[in-house]
């Protein structure tokens, strides 16, 4: 169909392995191009807007939240199915009223929704799992739609870890959730769990007055998706082992645990819905030892539509053993770039966790190294945030943690560390 986007899959790797080489790394660049216009919509879209209305939202926050939710509703394209949920220790329907269901966006329903949002008050607790459950049930009634939820919270989840985790596991891959944390009293780790399970993003809204703009942008992005679901289908040889499959751009997202077996050698990894965009994935395969000159297909990657089984793009990850060091030691620029980005993310996460439990030595070492790496790799924003947490004496090189760290700076560092920079073209 001409209104379907065309997909491309490019594979960057150095296929040459030394004789004892076992690990094959490749960066898959998946692009969706052409044929996509916002006018021509091939799939039905469904959007649930979830607003935290717990007690901590009282005052200015609830006013900004109402404003933001109203902006999101206004951004909905006519014809999109939608609902608005208010989240406390329960999930309540804000619009439409009555039994949980989605309604079609029209000028009239959007106006009604805005009026309902205007009456929202702050009270009660926080149970994010409950909110996602209600959203999931409503979205599940529309199996062929591009399913998305937008979640905003300012507080800490009061659910037990077990309950929260089982809700996330139950809905994982069945709709996409983008979430926003507002203020400095929320826990990035909780929204990170949502993003990981629901193949979405999570972001820090430092100034609550920016909330509307975040809602508008996320709703608009969600509205631009035209392909409901795609999976990366990865085959590896019987004697090989697929070590990991990660999205590395625009954000880091480990897909390894989301495998659905297709057959003993092949697994599907969900990538969520697609608009006109480009994403990159890092695949690592451990292959059995080989002989000089032997070439194998270490991975066969296909981008498939799980509903129809159609293959929209495919490519090979290759391996060839050589005793020519010049060949086998050449490092592919893209692989090196994203390996560095993943390392930076891990250093920041490890460092912040160590700092939280009072392990000063580990925190100092990790965060100082992260600061160095951020500077080396041109991540100036991240380096600047790291400087607010750890300081390095330029004369001696000695690092120490700063005593008074702004909570918001720490959250920004934590949430921002999943975003990666693209490799500049001249870097190839």
């Amino acid at each position: 169909m001409s209104d379907q986007p065309a997909f491309t899959l490019n594979i960057d790797q150095n296929k040459y392995l030394p004789l004892d080489g076992r690990e094959v790394h490749a960066i898959l660049t998946v692009g969706s191009t052409g044929g996509v216009t916002t006018q021509v919509v091939s799939s039905e879209a469904a959007e649930v807007i979830i607003v935290d209305t717990s007690g901590s939202m009282s005052g200015g926050k609830i006013r900004e939240a109402r404003q933001a939710a109203a902006t999101a509703v206004r951004t909905l394209r006519d014809g999109v199915l939608f609902a608005v949920i208010a989240g406390t220790e329960k999930a309540g329907m804000v619009y439409p009223g009555g039994s949980p269901r989605l309604v079609k966006a029209t000028a009239a329903t959007k106006a009604e929704a805005e009026r309902a949002i205007g009456r929202l008050l702050a009270h009660g607790g926080t149970a994010i799992g409950e909110w996602l459950n209600l959203a999931g049930h409503m979205l599940a009634a529309h199996p062929s739609a591009i399913k998305h939820a937008l979640l905003m919270t300012d507080g800490q989840n009061n659910e037990s870890d077990d309950v929260f985790s089982s809700v996330l596991a139950g809905w994982s891959g069945r709709f996409v959730v983008d979430s926003l944390g507002v203020g400095d009293d929320w826990v990035p780790a909780e929204l990170r769990k949502v993003a990981d399970a629901m193949l979405g993003t999570f972001d820090f809204v430092r100034n609550q007055t920016d909330l509307s703009e975040y809602f508008r942008r996320l709703t608009q992005t969600s509205m631009s998706k035209t392909v409901a679901e795609l999976s990366l289908r990865v085959w590896v040889p019987q004697t090989a082992r697929l070590k990991f499959v990660k999205q590395v751009s625009p954000t880091l997202l480990d897909l390894t645990g989301k495998r659905a077996d297709v057959n003993p050698l092949t697994g599907d990894y969900p990538t969520g819905s697609w608009g006109a965009e480009e994403r990159e994935y890092h695949v690592c395969v451990e292959v059995p030892p080989g002989q000089i000159g032997q070439e194998i297909r270490a991975g066969w990657v296909k981008l498939v539509r799980p509903d129809t089984g159609d293959v929209v793009a495919s490519g090979n990850v290759l391996a060839q053993w050589t005793d020519d060091l010049a060949q086998s030691t050449r490092i592919n620029g893209k692989v090196a770039h994203y390996t560095g980005q993943a390392e930076l993310h891990e250093l920041i996460q490890d460092g912040l966790s160590a700092r939280a439990v009072g392990d000063v030595d580990t925190a100092t070492a990790r965060l100082a190294r992260a600061r160095e790496l951020a500077a080396e790799t041109g991540r100036e924003d991240t380096a600047r945030l790291l400087e607010k947490v750890v300081e390095v004496d330029p004369a001696t090189g000695t690092a120490r943690l700063r005593r008074n760290v702004d909570k918001a700076d720490e959250i920004e560092l934590d949430t921002g560390s999943v975003r990666t920079s693209r490799l500049r073209k001249e870097g190839f």
Partner: protein, 279 residues
Amino acid sequence: MTGNEKVASCPVCEAPVLAGDIYCEACGHPMGAPTCASCGAGAVDAEGYCERCGLRQPTGRDHAETVLDNGAAAVTDRGLRRSRNEDAMALMASGDTIVAVVCDGVGSSPRADEASAVAVETAATALARGASQQEAFDLAGRAVAKLATSVYDAPACTYVAAVVEPDRITLGWAGDTRAYSLPDGGLLTEDDAIETGEITAWLGADAEGVTLHVRTFTPHAPGLLLVCSDGLWRYLDGYAFPSAGTPLEMAREMLRHALDSGGQDNVTIALIPLGEARE
């Protein structure tokens, strides 16, 4: 399907399949695919990879031999260190004229095996119908250039062609594929290469101002014309060419020498009897 049918297992996923099944019901693998040279599974796909162990399968080009009625013979071999043979050769007779063309795919270019194959095929066909060395070279060059999608994606190969008539031999070459006269081992061509070994002339869309070297001479003594790629000649220092046997036996012996010496590159050897050695 009835319960009595013989049960086998899928070569890819090892799920049970019934005799007569066209596809494995577990993984969809088509039954009756060619057998893998490495793991033995009947699972080689259309792209030439085994769907069980991943091995890229050897092709007919990995080792090939050609012999003409007058004894002229040629062998080509993948060698020991390359995953495929990017050399190509043609050896054919047209009346009492023998045509031999050897091309060596430039390893740093994409699809170099296609470049050498199309160059050899185009040039040999042209020479056999009486085209001049220059004409055959130009046709081959255009055919190779056509494989490119851009100058950054330009398959390339070297080139040597020999036309052996009863009283006259013409050689045409570009790059570092060579011709020698045997038994003395005299080199008849000059490489287009700089001191460090990099070639300065090749066929391909990214080749600029490449001119064909042409040399014409008359054989004075019986012997053999050797046309070969660098996979052989890099191992010729101090080597005593075989002095007995048919050209095919001699070519095989030279190949063995190249492989015993390391077989770093693809090897192609063509031997054409000259003078009174011609029957």
